[in-house]
C-alpha cells in the first residue's frame, strides 16, 4: 500500500524556518520525499533501535535517530540536529497552546537522577532562588531552585525517587 503524508518540520527549536515535507512510501524501503519542492528518492533501512542506513543517489549515510515525543534527535557524522515533525492537526494544536498562561510554574528534571534531598513541604512559602530539592546523578549534585516567590503547590516526587529528564518535580503557585 502507498502511504502519503504531509509534515511540517522545524530544526533546532528556536529556528523560525518551517519546512514542508511530503513523503510517500513507494516500496518496502523506498520513499519519495519532497522538501519545499525539492524531490528525493530515498532508500532507507533500519539497522537497529537507532541506526538507519540511508542511500540517496548512491550517497550512503549512517544516521542515528532517537525519538523524543514529536521530536527526533538526529546525528549524522558527529553533527547533531533536533527536528520537530508535526502533521497538520498537531501543528494546529501547537499554535493554539503556544500562548500558555503564566502563574503556576511546573519544575521539571533537567537530567535523570534520584532525589537525594527534599527541603520543602507542600504549602510552604518560598522565595525566588530557595532550594527545593537536590537531584543527584553520577555523583553530580543539581540543586533545584524556586524560579519565583510563591508557595509550593504540589510535590510530585518522594525522597530517593528516580526521575527521567522532563519528569515533573513540583509546582510553584
Amino acid at each position: 500500500m502507498t502511504l502519503k503524508r504531509e509534515y511540517f518540520a522545524t530544526v533546532n527549536k528556536n529556528e523560525e524556518k518551517e519546512y514542508i515535507i511530503n513523503i510517500s512510501v513507494s516500496g518496502l524501503n523506498t520513499f519519495e520525499i519532497d522538501i519545499d519542492g525539492k524531490k528525493f528518492l530515498v532508500d532507507s533501512v533500519r539497522i537497529n533501535e537507532n541506526i538507519y542506513s540511508i542511500i540517496i543517489n548512491g550517497r550512503s549515510y549512517a544516521v542515528d535517530i532517537t525519538e523524543k515525543g514529536d521530536c527526533y534527535d538526529v546525528m549524522i557524522d558527529g553533527d547533531h540536529f533536533n527536528i520537530e515533525i508535526l502533521d497538520e492537526v498537531k501543528r494546529l494544536i501547537k499554535h493554539r497552546t503556544s500562548s500558555v498562561a503564566v502563574g503556576t510554574q511546573t519544575l521539571e528534571a533537567n537530567m535523570p537522577g534520584y532525589i537525594w534531598k527534599l527541603m520543602v513541604d507542600e504549602g510552604q512559602e518560598i522565595k525566588e532562588g530557595d532550594p527545593l530539592m537536590i537531584l543527584v546523578a553520577m555523583k553530580m549534585e543539581n540543586e533545584i531552585k524556586s524560579p519565583k516567590d510563591g508557595v509550593v503547590g504540589k510535590i510530585f516526587v518522594k525522597l530517593n525517587d528516580t526521575v527521567s529528564t522532563g519528569d515533573k518535580l513540583a509546582t510553584i503557585v
Binding site: I35, R46, E49, D77, G78, M111, G113
Partner: protein, 506 residues
C-alpha cells in the same frame, strides 16, 4: 608470601573488567561483587564468581569493607581495589592485613603518608624531590613576607592558611602593591575563615600536569614507566591523557624519572604508584601529590611500554620481584587516551545515564577500548559517569591523533549522550595539535561554540531521516505489524513514552 590463586576486585565497571582480564590470562580465578542495581553490569558476567553485597534494593554502596573483606577471606582471595572506592584507603588496607587477606596495592603506611598533604610534602622533600617553594608557616609581619617572596621568586601567591575556594588568595607578579594586597588577603581570610594567617607559595604560570608512573617491589626494586601528560582537564577532571608529554624536553623528562625512582626507593614504596608534578612554562617541575593506586589512564603507559601494570601489582603482592629491570624497559611510539563520559556536552555536560540502545565499539588497528557498557545496558545513575576509555597509538603524536579521530568516528553509543563529540573538537583544536597546552586549555583555548558548530549545516538528510522515522512509526501504529526489530523496553523508555503524551521536545 603466598601465591595468589583468586582475586576479588572491590570495584565495578571498566576497571573491574580490566583487572579480571589480567587474572584470566594469569590463570587466577576472579570474583566480582555487585550491588542490586548492578546485577546486569558486565563485570558480573566476566568474573568466575560473583556475590551480591547489597543488604536491600535501596543499598547502592560498594563501600562495605567488612562484608568485602569477610568474603575475600572466606573465598581465600586477594583484594584488588581498582581506583576510587577503597583504593587509597589506608584503613581498608590495614584491615585486610589484620584479616590475613592480601591487598594488591601499596603498604597502608604509604597510603596514609601520601594521603596527607603535609606528610607527603615532607617525605618528598627529604627524598630530594622538588616541591612548590613556599613558606610552611604563616607569616604575619609585612617585611618578613616581602623577604620570603623575594627568596621564593615572583610571581607568588598569597594563600589563607585555613582557606579554600579561592578566598583570601592573591597573585602578585612583583613587589608593586605588596602592602595593600597582603592586607586585603589577610582581612579577607579573617572574615571568611576567622583567621587572618597568610602563607606564600610560588605561583606556577601556565601549569602543566605531568605524572610519572612508578612500580616498586618488596625487595627494594623500583622502576619508572615514563610519564603521562594530563593537562587536558575539565572541572579538575582529566579528559585526555597522552604519552610522551609533548611539552617537556628530554633533560626535564630524565630528571623527573630519576627523582621519581629515587623517591620510591627512599620510601620503600611497593606496588604501582604515580607521582604527579606541576610543571611551569619554564619547565621547572614540582611535586604535587602521589597517587597510591592504579590510575585510570594507565593503559597508555601499557601500550607504549608493553608492561602489564596489573600483572606486576599482583606479582609484587605475592612477594615476587618486578619482572623487568629499568634497562630492559623502553618506550615505543605515542599513545592517547580519551575518557568517554555519560554526559551531554550540548547541555553543559549534565550527566546522561540511562538505557544504551546501541553500542558499537570501534575496531581496526591501533585501538584499545575498555568499557563497562553494552547495548541493552542501563547505565545506573548512582556511580561514576566514566563508561569507557579509548586509546589510540601510533609511531608519532600526529599519527596517534589521526588514528584517534578515525577511531572515535566509529564509536556509536545511542540512547544516552556521551562526550565523544567534545573529544572530536579537542582533537581538531590548533592549540591541542601544537602540543603546547596547559591545564587552562579548556577555559582559554577551547571554544565551546566549536561543539555546536557542525561539519555540515545542510539539514536535508536530517529532515529526510526524521520524516522517514515518523512515517514508519505511524505505519506501525496503524498496522500493528512491525517488520523492524522490536525496541528494547526499559523504565527510561516507559517514562519517555509518558513524556511523549505531553508533546515535549528535549
Amino acid at each position: 608470601m603466598a601465591k595468589i590463586e583468586k582475586v576479588l576486585v572491590a570495584n565495578r565497571g571498566e576497571i573491574a573488567i580490566r583487572i579480571f582480564r589480567t587474572c584470566r590470562k594469569m590463570n587466577i580465578k576472579s570474583i566480582a561483587i555487585y550491588t542490586d542495581v548492578d546485577r546486569k553490569a558486565p563485570h558480573v558476567r566476566y568474573a568466575d564468581e560473583a556475590y551480591p553485597i547489597s543488604s536491600d534494593s535501596q543499598d547502592i554502596s560498594y563501600l562495605q569493607d567488612d562484608k568485602i573483606i569477610r568474603l575475600a577471606k572466606e573465598k581465600n582471595a586477594a583484594i584488588h581495589p581498582g581506583y576510587g572506592f577503597f583504593a587509597e584507603n589506608a584503613d581498608f588496607a590495614e584491615k585486610c592485613k589484620k584479616n590475613n587477606v592480601i591487598f594488591i596495592g601499596p603498604a597502608s603506611k604509604h597510603i596514609k603518608l601520601m594521603g596527607s598533604k603535609t606528610g607527603a610534602r615532607a617525605a618528598m622533600t627529604s627524598a630530594g624531590v622538588p616541591v612548590v617553594p613556599g613558606t610552611k608557616n604563616p607569616i604575619r609581619d609585612l617585611n618578613d613576607a616581602k623577604n620570603a617572596a623575594l627568596e621564593i621568586g615572583y610571581p607568588i601567591m598569597l594563600k589563607a592558611v585555613y582557606g579554600g575556594g579561592g578566598k583570601g588568595m592573591r597573585i602578585l607578579k612583583d613587589e608593586q602593591n605588596f602592602d595593600a594586597t597582603f592586607r586585603t588577603a589577610s582581612s579577607e581570610a579573617l572574615s571568611s575563615f576567622g583567621n587572618g594567617d597568610i602563607y606564600i607559595e610560588k605561583y606556577i604560570v601556565k601549569p602543566h600536569h605531568v605524572e610519572i608512573q612508578v612500580l616498586g617491589d618488596q625487595h627494594g626494586g623500583a622502576i619508572h614507566l615514563f610519564e603521562r601528560e594530563c593537562s587536558i582537564q575539565r572541572r579538575h577532571q582529566k579528559v585526555i591523557e597522552e604519552t610522551p608529554s609533548p611539552f617537556i624536553n628530554d633533560k626535564v623528562r630524565n630528571n623527573m624519572y630519576e627523582v621519581a625512582v629515587k623517591a620510591v626507593k627512599s620510601l620503600g614504596y611497593y606496588s604501582a604508584g604515580t607521582l604527579e608534578f606541576i610543571v611551569g612554562s619554564d619547565q621547572t617541575f614540582y611535586f604535587l601529590e602521589m597517587n597510591t593506586r592504579l590510575q585510570v589512564e594507565h593503559p597508555i603507559t601499557e601500550i607504549t611500554t608493553g608492561i602489564d601494570i596489573v600483572r606486576e601489582m599482583i606479582r609484587v603482592a605475592e612477594g615476587k620481584e618486578l619482572t623487568f629491570k629499568q634497562n630492559e624497559i623502553s618506550r615505543h611510539g605515542h599513545a592517547i587516551e580519551c575518557r568517554i563520559y555519560a554526559e551531554d556536552p550540548t547541555n553543559n555536560f549534565a550527566p546522561s545515564p540511562g538505557l544504551v540502545t546501541v553500542y558499537q565499539a570501534p575496531e581496526g588497528p591501533n585501538v584499545r577500548v575498555s568499557s563497562g557498557a553494552y547495548d541493552g545496558y542501563e547505565i545506573p545513575i548512582y556511580y561514576d559517569p566514566l563508561i569507557a576509555k579509548v586509546c589510540a597509538n601510533s609511531k608519532t603524536r600526529e599519527g596517534a591523533i589521526e588514528n584517534m579521530k578515525r577511531i572515535l568516528s566509529e564509536y556509536i553509543i545511542a540512547g544516552i549522550r556521551t562526550n565523544i563529540s567534545f573529544h572530536q573538537s579537542v582533537l581538531k583544536n590548533k592549540t591541542f595539535v601544537s602540543g603546547i597546552y596547559d591545564t587552562d586549555f579548556i577555559d582559554t583555548n577551547f571554544n565551546m561554540e566549536d561543539l555546536q558548530r557542525k561539519k555540515n549545516e545542510d539539514v536535508t538528510i536530517p529532515l529526510i531521516a526524521a520524516a522517514i522515522r515518523q512515517v514508519r512509526s505511524e505505519r506501525i501504529s496503524l498496522q500493528k505489524t512491525d517488520t523492524d526489530s522490536k525496541p528494547i523496553e526499559s523504565n527510561w523508555k516507559k517514562s519517555g513514552k509518558v513524556i511523549n503524551v505531553s508533546n515535549k521536545c528535549y
